[in-house]
Symmetry: C2
């Protein structure tokens, strides 16, 4: 194997090499402290600084104002599927979900265990190949919140225009496209994202919540499930996932060095369009997602037969490109190209796709 | 600062240097894969192997039979404070808590938010300086379970003989003394432990649950809070905290190289008794905990005045011994000497205590 492979995994996924090398260098002895960050008390000044820095860099990168709180939690997006309704749904209230993929459906199903949830729209009958257009759903203006999933990892679709929710807070699982482009946080009441795609490593969940929503958290919630409680204790009610927060902080500094989110968006659009161009100019490769809803993060497509897909996957692996197989639930091919996936890896895949198609022509 | 400092932190706490060095060496490229473990899909064979190895080593180290399930969860012990009653308490059932410290009290308080919880005993009026003796409480044989905290980090006490609970499952927060000595898992229905004291790094919680208890988990629980669900998906319903599980696995292999838990117990008793001997032979240092209940993990004591305690802490730091200050809620001095804390660090502290006392004599 080479020193560095092209890793198209959907998450956990490729991280910037310079982030990994920095973490490696100071792994056993951080800031000349004589200990590893893994050994350091979460009540120490050093760890408090790492957490404060990560928060401050997130605010800078995402342009997040002070009326939004930034939390570092655990349990991934999946735990938020339950925590969102536990905190934001009033006793007799209603929330609405728009279901555009596998994780969106799980979020909808888990939320139903907590309270009254309405399915405002679903594109499941179209194999989640598209995002519903505004004329295909009607939102209830009295809902406690509307939940969407901004990018659908498995199917390769992405919301390009957010639904208009008026005064109803929009809640979004942004796990797979957070900070891949500028975000206007004022469009949202709450966003959450597992870190292991665009933000860092598995084990830390970023939650950004608007201040006025905190008063909804019922006192009767156990401490670890209460957003208001986590805000008051600055994400350190108990021992936070310190190492994951540190990696996330290093990724934020890397993002700044790349020129921030506008720059990242330009690069991501360039990477995705190179792959979509091959697909659009081919009868051999067939894209799964509707053109207007295609994701810049996860490019999904099929070859004429499952056998050819297997052969393609193996051919890619023998050329140093791994984890390109589609999700076990849908098959096909999926190239996940998050922020940290390098442009030259996409160029290599483009060449490989053309060569492979020609060899079968 | 020296390359390596003596870190008496209560958790996150000292880890074996050879574990840290191994993780550092393969940090950017694990098993010649061309990628960091942080970038590796949790559905990859490599990660599945790491998780299976960690489980198998835990079973070997702790002598855990197949009728107990091993889970790697998130959210620390604090999340278990809620998950235990959510899963094990029947709708009209009762659970009993024995409260012997700060975290035991938090567990009791959070459980009350879920259901009917009885306080079987508390030693709070004695400033948690002791563990209640069996004649000081009476357990209800119809309870769904009894909850204890096997070691009390802040106060420096430890259960030496478990309460007799008959057929009622004993549930224990073992965060601060797990695998510091042999454990007879058959004494318990369920044990849980945040990893950041004896087992590894923050961000992973070890849960060991007896098979017959799984049927108690109500279907209505959100997926991430359901033990039965986690068992069925082998701790990988969503992305598990892969790096934390890997570190925990390396610590298990280190434990085996130390000779396992019998050997660890001998070393831990030796370390603790060296410090308790200084305290017992001194009028200057005064132990907080009852002699018969003293912890081998956290040695807590006071000096004649808070000013002397501050001076002692600073003197220790200037001699390369840090994080020796007592918990912010109780003050005093606390030396946490978990498995990975080296014997020579304890010898250094013993010398320091004697020198300091003499200088004030």
């Amino acid at each position: 194997m080479p020193d560095r492979i092209y890793n198209f995994a959907a998450g956990p996924a490729a991280l910037p090499l310079e982030v990994l090398e920095r973490a490696q260098t100071e792994f056993t002895n951080i800031n000349d402290s004589g200990m590893s960050l893994l050994e350091m008390s979460h009540r120490s000044q050093a760890v408090e600084n790492i957490m404060a820095d990560a928060e401050s860099d997130i605010r800078e990168v995402g342009n997040i104002p002070e009326n939004y709180h930034i939390l570092f939690l655990q349990g991934g997006a999946s735990q938020q599927f339950a925590m969102v309704p536990m905190n934001l749904l009033s006793p007799n209230g209603l929330a609405e979900h728009i279901v555009t993929g596998h994780f969106a459906k799980l979020a909808y199903q888990d939320a139903q265990k907590i309270g009254n949830i309405r399915l405002a729209a679903s594109t499941e009958e179209d194999k989640f190949s598209r995002i519903p257009s505004p004329d295909q759903y009607r939102l209830d203006p009295s809902a406690d919140y509307i939940h969407i999933t901004t990018n659908n990892t498995i199917f390769g679709t992405e919301w390009k225009t957010l639904p208009k929710t008026g005064d109803v807070p929009l809640v979004a699982d942004t796990s797979s496209n957070m900070f891949s482009k500028p975000i206007n946080i004022n469009d949202y009441g709450l966003v959450y994202a597992g870190a292991q795609k665009n933000l860092g490593a598995a084990g830390v969940t970023l939650v950004i919540i608007r201040d006025d929503l905190l008063k909804r958290s019922p006192d009767i919630l156990p401490s670890m499930f209460n957003y208001n409680h986590h805000v008051k204790s600055k994400s350190a009610y108990n021992t936070p996932p310190v190492f994951g927060i540190y990696i996330l902080g290093l990724v934020m500094k890397w993002l700044k060095r790349q020129g921030g989110l506008e720059s990242m968006q330009r690069i991501n659009e360039e990477k995705a369009s190179m792959l979509y161009e091959v697909i659009d100019n081919s009868d051999f490769y067939k894209g799964h997602a509707n053109k207007s809803d295609r994701s810049n993060m996860n490019v999904t497509f099929n070859l004429p037969t499952p056998e050819l897909e297997t052969e393609f996957t193996e051919y890619a692996a023998s050329n140093g490109m791994v984890e390109i197989k589609g999700h076990r639930s849908v098959g096909g091919i999926r190239a996940s190209i998050y922020n940290a996936f390098p442009l030259d890896g996409v160029e290599r895949l483009v060449d490989l796709m053309k060569t492979f198609e020609k060899s079968k022509g």
